[in-house]
């Protein structure tokens, strides 16, 4: 009886030690994964910054004008007689349907037109 109790206690302690060690190792692995993801995020953020820079450089008026000159395209403002002015039609402002808690549990779906 005493021996079996002692063995049980040892088994329990060993299990706890294994679980604890496993948790610690998992934690370290997870932290390494987080570190890698953070690194990835930083790289992607920087790539985004670089692309933003390239886009703004390419879409700057001087770049566009240079491209037009190279392609020998001449853009001119239209004369007044060449402009047809369209009356601005007032579009009713679509208020998005307010969402409530009941929408979350409701099974009905409300179709909403996508604004053009």
């Amino acid at each position: 009886m005493t021996l079996s109790r002692a063995l049980l206690l040892i088994a329990l302690i060993t299990s706890f030690v294994f679980i604890y060690a496993h948790e610690q190792v998992s934690k370290v692995i997870l932290l390494y994964q987080i570190q890698n993801h953070e690194l990835q995020k930083d790289l992607l953020t920087d790539a985004h910054h670089r692309l933003k820079y390239q886009v703004s450089r390419l879409s700057s008026p001087s770049s566009l004008e240079q491209a037009l000159t190279e392609k020998k395209l001449v853009l001119e403002f239209p004369e007044a007689r060449e402009v047809v002015r369209l009356a601005m039609e007032e579009r009713p402002v679509q208020e998005s349907r307010k969402k409530s808690f009941f929408d979350l549990i409701s099974t009905t779906k409300v179709a909403e037109a996508r604004p053009r």
């Binding site: 390494y32 910054h49 703004s56 700057s60 008026p61 001087s62 007044a80």
Partner: protein, 571 residues
């Protein structure tokens, strides 16, 4: 027990070990007690280093949200000398890839330091080439680098930063505290190979990125202004030039440019001379442009009205031992014609009636002789002498823009008074400040405008200035499809002896458009144009080209369109 030689040997060993242990004991006491703090600090710095977390500098956008200044990461090259065994070979290999001499690199590589910068913020192409060499002891560190997509666009207004991203010129300097943000740090535990253990973060302070700025500048208007200014500088072989496009109602600067210009991405490669913001730092005698101030003062004080007849002495007028001339001799002109034809004699006669005190008062109220307070560093106030310091000929010089010195920006603000109905408004470049999350945290707060002229007087002046373009000296500023008002100016520069030069001039034009509801004020200043130098020839065409394009860009209906629209609405 022991014989004497043996006893001596034992004593010798005893003393030897006693002294040895005593020495070790004392060293231990010294290290553990007296130098405890130092060694604790050394161990901590080795095992628990504090790694800086650099905050990103805020971006700068134009009024339409187009980026003018951004920040991205760039690789900076450093060497760890101790890890480099073949120092000569490494230096030669780096020299072939970088634009640096082998001697310079060898000096860096030989430094007995753990970390030595070689070249910071390298272009990507160079980084790739050096990485492929796989040199031992040569590594890169990422650092934020300021980049400007417009390259030279609005270079003087934007300014630039130093290697450590601190603002050195322009808005980058003026709003450095807002843009810079606050660096953070991270204290970690390092293993024997100097690698930070991920689970060991002891202290952490998040870096706060700098705020973004939204400017009043418009990228398209800025481009139009710079393109036309470039053409004028080329055509007239000018030493320099400046242009300002401003909204006269709220003081928003839509464009500000100077020539010569410089590449914002390589500011160190440019002479300081080219980086000077002439529009706010260069003083010049305004010449005939200043007649609009004299005219404004005279109308406001009721000294004259548009139809009053003034005898212009057929081009020669003697005043205090000084003979004043007109470019073309005139007899009797109405006051409106005096300004329209830019008669010096007629203007001086009006100023004599006005008196020095009142003229000086209006010059100051129009903002001359003091800084405008624009949000740019380095602005100068100009020179306007008090009437007590005027001498006999001052009343013949100052009303026609001689003996005073002004900046192009002061002229823009003064024209703004006439264009907006009589109020002086402070010019500014900042519109909004955004947090790094994109929320507006501050908007520019307009200062209450200073009333200078009655609205009716400003309207009358507008008409006079429209006539100066329609039938006066500013004919080449006449816009297609719009009415505009303005005044030409040609001033002689002072030579090395302090005398008026006959070969160096400044041609200028100040105007507003469209009439009767001005939306923009444009100032053009061309420094030492050749062979022609008259403001009406060198600066007025720039005003015309810029104004026409800007008004179309701002979708302000031209006269033709306005007439068409009115007629189409008629029953």
């Amino acid at each position: 027990m022991f014989q004497r030689p043996h006893r001596d040997s034992l004593w010798f060993f005893f003393v030897f070990f006693f002294v040895g242990y005593l020495f070790l004991g004392l060293r231990l006491v010294d290290r553990q007690i007296f130098q405890h703090g130092r060694f604790k600090h050394l161990a901590a710095s080795q095992h628990y280093p504090t790694l800086p977390l650099t905050a990103f500098r805020g971006d700068i956008f134009d009024r339409q949200g187009k980026p003018l200044a951004l920040t991205h990461l760039a690789d900076s090259l450093f060497v760890v000398s101790r890890q480099i065994s073949e120092k000569d070979k490494t230096s030669r290999a780096l020299s072939a890839k970088l634009d640096l001499s082998t001697e310079y690199l060898l000096e860096r590589v030989r430094r007995n330091k753990a970390f030595v910068w070689v070249k910071r913020k390298l272009p990507e192409s160079q980084t790739g080439e050096i990485r492929r060499l796989g040199l031992k002891g040569v590594d890169f560190r990422k650092e934020p680098k300021r980049v400007y997509p417009g390259v030279t666009l609005a270079s003087h207004a934007l300014g630039f930063v130093d290697m450590d991203n601190r603002g050195l010129e322009g808005l980058e300097q003026y709003y450095d505290r807002l843009l810079r943000g606050e660096d953070g740090f991270r204290q970690v535990l390092r293993d024997a190979k100097q690698r930070a253990l991920p689970s060991s973060e002891l202290k952490y302070q998040k870096p706060v990125n700098g705020s973004d700025l939204i400017l009043t500048l418009d990228e398209v208007i800025q481009h139009i202004a710079e393109r036309e200014l470039d053409e004028a500088v080329r055509k007239w072989q000018a030493e320099g030039a400046a242009i300002i496009v401003m909204d006269p109602h709220n003081g928003e600067i839509l464009a500000l440019a100077n020539r010569p210009s410089f590449d914002l991405n390589e500011p160190g490669e440019t002479l300081p001379e080219r980086r000077r913001n002439r529009a706010i730092t260069d003083l010049f005698e305004p010449g005939s442009v200043f007649k609009m101030i004299t005219a404004a003062a005279a109308l406001q004080e009721g000294i004259v009205n548009e139809e009053d007849r003034i005898y212009c002495e057929n081009g020669t007028y003697r005043i205090s031992n000084h003979t004043l001339h007109d470019v073309h001799p005139y007899g009797v002109l109405s006051f409106q014609e005096v300004i329209q034809k830019s008669s010096n004699i007629g203007t001086v006669k009006v100023a004599q009636k006005l008196g020095a005190e009142r003229l000086h008062h209006y010059i100051r109220t129009f903002g001359f002789g003091e800084k405008t307070g624009i949000d740019l560093p380095g602005e100068v106030s100009g020179t306007v002498r008090h009437p007590r310091q005027w001498w006999g000929t001052s009343i013949a010089n100052i009303p026609i823009g001689q003996g005073v010195s002004v900046t192009a920006l002061q002229l823009a603000c003064a024209m703004g008074v006439i264009a907006n109905g009589g109020s002086w408004v402070k010019p500014h470049l900042l519109k909004e400040v955004l947090s790094s999350e994109g929320d507006v945290i501050k908007s520019y707060e307009e200062e209450p405008p200073r009333l200078v002229l009655n609205p009716s007087v400003s309207k009358r002046l507008q008409k006079i200035l429209v006539s100066a373009i329609e039938g006066g000296t500013g004919k080449s500023a006449k816009l297609k499809g719009y009415l505009a008002g303005g005044k030409t100016g040609t001033a002689q520069k002072l030579d090395a002896n302090g005398r008026y030069s006959h070969s160096s001039h400044i041609g200028s034009f100040v105007g507003f458009a469209p009439y009767p509801n001005p939306r923009i004020v444009v100032v053009v200043m061309v420094d030492e144009p050749r062979p022609m130098y008259y403001g009406g020839v060198v600066a007025a065409p720039v005003f015309k080209k810029v104004s026409e394009q800007v008004l179309r860009y701002l979708e302000i209906p031209s006269e033709e369109n306005a007439i068409e629209m009115v007629s189409s609405n008629d029953p």
